[in-house]
Subunit: 510 residues, 2 copies
C-alpha cells in the first residue's frame, strides 16, 4: 500500500511543549464549547489577553482576517464605497444625542476620564487627578454618533449625496461573559456609514450591502446564510429596520454573521443634518450603516471544523496547500525537495498559497496532524518512491480522501481540487443547515425541536414583543429573523394562539 510508509511515521510526541500538537483533543460531541476553545487555542488562532474581556489575535488567525478584509474591501469598492477614518473617542454629549442608540450601548461603554498619568513621590505611576477631562469620552462601541456629527459639516445640498463611506476599525463593548472571536470587549470590524437623499435609495443601499455580506459568507466562508429582517426586540439601537444574515453552527445554534441597518432619518435628526433637495426644499438626510466583524472567524471555525481541527475553505486559508517531504536520508531529502519546489513554483504561478514544510525536527506523521489541525485544505506528500513513479499523494482535509496523482499536470489538478473542496465544504454546511430547519405548529413541537433537534425552528408568532420575550425566557430561543423571501401564510402563534400571517425563524443563538 502506498499510504503505509506515511502511516508508519505517524507518531505525535505529546510531550513536545514546543509545538501546538501537545494538547488533548476534545470531541464536538462531548463538549462543543470546550472543543471550540481548544481549537482556537491549539490552532494558534487567538488567546485571551491579560486585559479583561480582550483577545490577542495571533498571526494564523489574523491571516484569515486579512483574507476576509481583502475580499470585503474589494466588494465594497466595487459597489462604489471608499474608506475613511473617524476618531476612536466620542464625547459623551454626542453619544447621547440619538437617544435609543445611546441607551442601547450605554451599559457596555468604556469611558475615558483622564488624559495624563504622573509619577508620584514613591516613583509609582498614578492617574494625575489634575488631568480630569471636562467631558468624558466614550471609546466607540459603534461610530454613528461621531460620523453623523462629522457628516453635518459635509452635507448641504443633494449634490453632496450620496456619501458612501466604510471604516475598518476596532470597537469596544464591555462584555462580562466573553468567548474568543464570538464575543469580546474589543473586536475588529468594518462599519459602513452612508448618507442619501431619499428613503428609497437608503433602503436599496441597506439591501445591497446585505447581499454583499450574504454572497461573501456563502462564497468565501462557505457558510450558508438566511437573509432576513430583525424584529423590534433584536433591532440595532437607533435603526428603523435591521437586516441580517444568520448562519447555523454545528451544535445547532444560530450565529448572526452580519447586519445592515436602515437608519431612516434618526441620526440626521439627532445631529441636525439637512440637505437642500433638487426642488429646493430643506430635508433631513437618510442613513444606513452595516458591519461585519472578527466574529466571522468564529463562524468559520464553528461551521466547518471537525474533531481533528480546523477545516478552512480554500478561499480563506492562509496556506492552501502544504507539501510534506518523505525521506530517510539527506540524499533523499535533496532529491525530494527538488521535485517539491518545482511543484510549489507551479502552484504559486496559479496564485495558490503553498507551504513546503521541510522542517527536519519533526516526522511526516506529526506534520500531517499539525496541518490537519490548522485546516490546510490540501496536503501533498512526496517521497523517493513517488518520484520514481512520477506521482504524489494528495490528501483532502475536508473529506480526508487520499489520492495518488501524476506529477505531470499537478498544478491544474490541484486548482480543480481546491475549487471542489470549496464547493464541498459549502454543500456539507448547507445540507446540515437545511436539515435543521424544523417547521412546527404547536408549543410542544416547538420545545421539542429546540431541545432535541437544534437548529432553526420555523413557527407562527403573534408579532408582539411581549410574546417574543416570554418565549425567550422560557426557552432561551430568540427570533433570529423574518426571512426576506417569506411566504405569507395564516396561522396561530405557538405561544398565545393569536392570529399570525407568517412564520418566523426561532433559534438558540450565540
Amino acid at each position: 500500500m502506498h499510504n503505509t510508509q506515511y502511516l508508519d511515521t505517524f507518531a505525535i510526541n505529546l510531550k513536545n511543549k514546543h509545538w501546538t500538537m501537545a494538547y488533548e483533543k476534545v470531541k464536538r460531541s462531548d463538549n462543543y464549547s470546550e472543543w471550540y476553545n481548544n481549537l482556537v487555542k491549539h490552532a494558534d488562532m487567538a488567546e485571551h489577553a491579560d486585559v479583561k474581556g480582550c483577545m490577542v489575535i495571533k498571526p494564523y488567525g489574523y491571516a484569515i482576517w486579512e483574507k476576509m478584509q481583502a475580499e470585503l474591501d474589494k466588494k465594497f469598492k466595487q459597489t462604489g464605497h471608499v474608506n475613511a477614518y473617524f476618531p476612536l473617542l466620542i464625547p459623551k454629549s454626542f453619544f447621547e444625542k440619538e437617544e435609543k442608540n445611546a441607551e442601547g450601548f450605554a451599559k457596555e461603554c468604556a469611558v475615558v476620564t483622564h488624559y495624563r498619568l504622573k509619577v508620584d513621590d514613591d516613583r509609582k505611576i498614578i492617574v494625575d487627578p489634575e488631568a480630569k477631562l471636562e467631558e468624558e469620552l466614550i471609546i466607540r462601541p459603534t461610530s454613528e454618533a461621531i460620523i453623523w456629527n462629522t457628516y453635518k459639516g459635509w452635507i448641504q445640498s443633494y449634490r453632496d449625496l450620496p456619501i458612501l463611506i466604510n471604516q475598518w476599525a476596532n470597537v469596544m463593548r464591555w462584555e462580562m461573559r466573553t468567548r474568543l472571536f464570538l464575543r469580546t470587549s474589543e473586536f475588529l470590524w468594518q462599519e459602513g456609514h452612508t448618507a442619501h437623499a431619499s428613503s428609497e435609495e437608503a433602503i436599496a443601499e441597506t439591501k445591497q450591502m446585505l447581499d454583499v455580506y450574504a454572497d461573501f459568507a456563502e462564497q468565501f466562508l462557505a457558510v450558508p446564510v438566511i437573509k432576513g429582517v430583525k424584529t423590534e426586540n433584536e433591532r440595532f439601537a437607533g435603526a428603523v429596520e435591521t437586516y441580517c444574515i444568520e448562519g447555523l453552527m454545528q451544535d445547532g445554534k444560530a450565529l448572526q454573521m452580519g447586519t445592515s441597518h436602515f437608519l431612516g432619518q434618526n441620526f440626521a435628526k439627532a445631529f441636525d443634518v439637512k440637505f437642500q433637495s433638487k426642488e429646493g426644499k430643506l430635508e433631513h438626510v437618510w442613513a444606513t450603516s452595516w458591519g461585519v466583524s472578527t466574529r466571522l472567524i468564529g463562524a468559520l471555525i464553528m461551521a466547518h471544523s471537525d474533531d481533528e481541527g480546523l477545516v478552512l475553505p480554500p478561499s480563506l486559508a492562509p496556506i492552501q496547500v502544504v507539501i510534506v517531504p518523505i525521506y530517510r536520508s539527506e540524499e533523499e531529502l535533496e532529491k525530494v525537495s527538488q521535485e517539491a519546489l518545482k511543484i510549489k513554483q507551479q502552484l504559486e504561478a496559479l496564485n495558490i498559497a503553498v507551504k513546503f514544510d521541510n522542517r527536519d525536527t519533526h516526522k511526516p506523521g506529526y506534520k500531517f496532524a499539525e496541518w490537519e489541525l490548522k485546516g490546510v485544505p490540501l496536503r501533498i506528500a512526496i517521497g523517493p518512491r513517488d518520484i520514481e513513479n512520477g506521482t504524489v499523494e494528495l490528501a483532502r482535509r475536508d473529506t480526508k480522501e487520499k489520492m495518488v496523482k501524476q506529477i505531470a499536470g499537478i498544478d491544474t489538478q490541484v486548482q480543480a481540487l481546491l475549487k471542489d473542496i470549496q464547493t464541498n465544504i459549502f454543500e456539507k454546511a448547507k445540507q446540515y443547515r437545511d436539515s435543521h430547519i424544523h417547521t412546527v405548529n404547536t408549543w410542544d413541537e416547538f420545545v421539542e425541536a429546540l431541545d432535541q433537534k437544534g437548529g432553526f425552528v420555523s413557527a407562527h408568532w403573534d408579532g408582539t414583543s411581549a410574546t417574543e420575550e416570554k418565549i425567550k425566557e422560557m426557552t432561551k430561543a430568540t427570533i433570529r429573523c423574518i426571512p426576506l423571501n417569506n411566504t405569507q401564510e395564516a396561522g396561530k402563534c405557538i405561544l398565545t394562539g393569536s392570529d399570525s400571517t407568517q412564520r418566523v425563524l426561532f433559534a438558540k443563538a450565540y
Copy 2:
C-alpha cells in the same frame, strides 16, 4: 495654439460652495503653516474632529494611507514578518513595568476608569459611579508593554525565536498642540515588535527595518531621507538605540519619518521573558520595535506640494491620470467620451489608476484646477479637434509641462511619463535637501544657518545631553541624528568648544 481652447474655459466659480475649489489660496512663501493647513483641508485630505486633538481622515487622504499600507505590508512580509493584533487597552500595572517607557509616555496617556454609563433619573446619560474599574486601563500610546506581557507566554526556547510580528493599529498620545497628520492625539500606524535569541540578530533586524523604511520613503514617497541614530535625548523611551530616517520639508524644517528601535533586553527584563538557549542556558530575550504612521501623509504633502496644491508621486496617487473631455455639445461629448474610455481601458490594462471626469456640472478649466489641487500626476485633455488630429494633450502636475501626443501608443507613453514624474519629484526634493545641508564650524555660522538658510546644519557637538538641551533652548534646533555613514573627524563643539570626534545634524523640526 493648441492650449487656448482650454485656457478660454478656465474660470473657477469661487462662489460654488459645493466644490473644494471655493477657497483662497495661500502661498508657501507667505505663510507656510497656513498653506499646509489650507491644502490639507481643500484637497479633502483630513479635518479636525470635534474631539480634542483628533482628526477625521477623509477618503482622499485615506486612499493615500491605503497605498502606503499596501506597499509597506508587502515589504514587511517579504522580510518574513506576519501581522497580528493586540489589545487597545493596557492595564496600568503592565504599563509601569518598563520604567523609562512608562515615564516617557505617562504625560500623554488617555485613561479609562469606568466601564459603563447609565441613564439617570432625568433620562440623562451619566457615567455609572458603580462601574469604576479596579485598575485603570491606558489606551495604548505604543504597545511594547502589552505585547511583551503576551510574548512571555509564547517564548520558552530558542526554537520559539525569532518572533517577527507587525501590527496595524490606532494609538493615542494626548497632544496639546496638534497639526493634521503631523501631530494628533490619535493616529494610525504600524508597529513591528520582534523577539530574538541574540543581540546581533536584534540589531540586524533593527537596521533591516530602517532600510525598509528608507527605501519606502525614497522610492514611494519620493522623499530623500538621511538614515541615522538618535542621541540619548531623542531616543525612544525604553530603547537602547533608536535609528531614524529624517526628511526635509520645503520650509527647511526636518521631519522624523520613521524609527526603528533596538530595545536590548529592557522589555524582556521588565516582563520576565526568558528563553532556553541552544546551550541550555536561560537568557533574557532581545527585542526590537519599529513604526511609521499617518504622519507620512504630512511629509508627503510638505515635501512636494506647491502653491497650486498637492503634488503626488504616481506610486501613491489614488488617481494617477485624469481624463478631462472638452466639448461644446452632447454630440461632441459622446464622440470624445468614446475615445476617452478607450484610452482609460488601455491605461487600466497597465494597472494605471484613471479617472474619466465627465461631470457636466463643471467646465474644463475648473476641473483642471481641481485635479491640480488634488495632485493628480498626469492630466489628459481630449476634444473633437484632438480626435481629428489623432492626438491628446498631456499635462504633468510636477513640471506643469504640456505636451501633444499621438493617441496611438498613448498607454506606454503615459506609463513612461509616470515613471519619469516619480523620478523627477524625488530628484527635485533631493536637490532641495542636498542644497540645505550646511556645514558650519562656529556658533555664529550655526545660528545664521538655522535662521537664514534653514535645513540641516552639520556641526560638531561635545556629545553631552546638557549641551544638546542648551542648544535647543537657545535656537529651538535639536540633533536630528548622527548619520549612519558619518565620517570620523576631530573638531570643537560649536557651543562649548570641547573636543568632538564627529559632526551631527541639527535642525528645527516638526
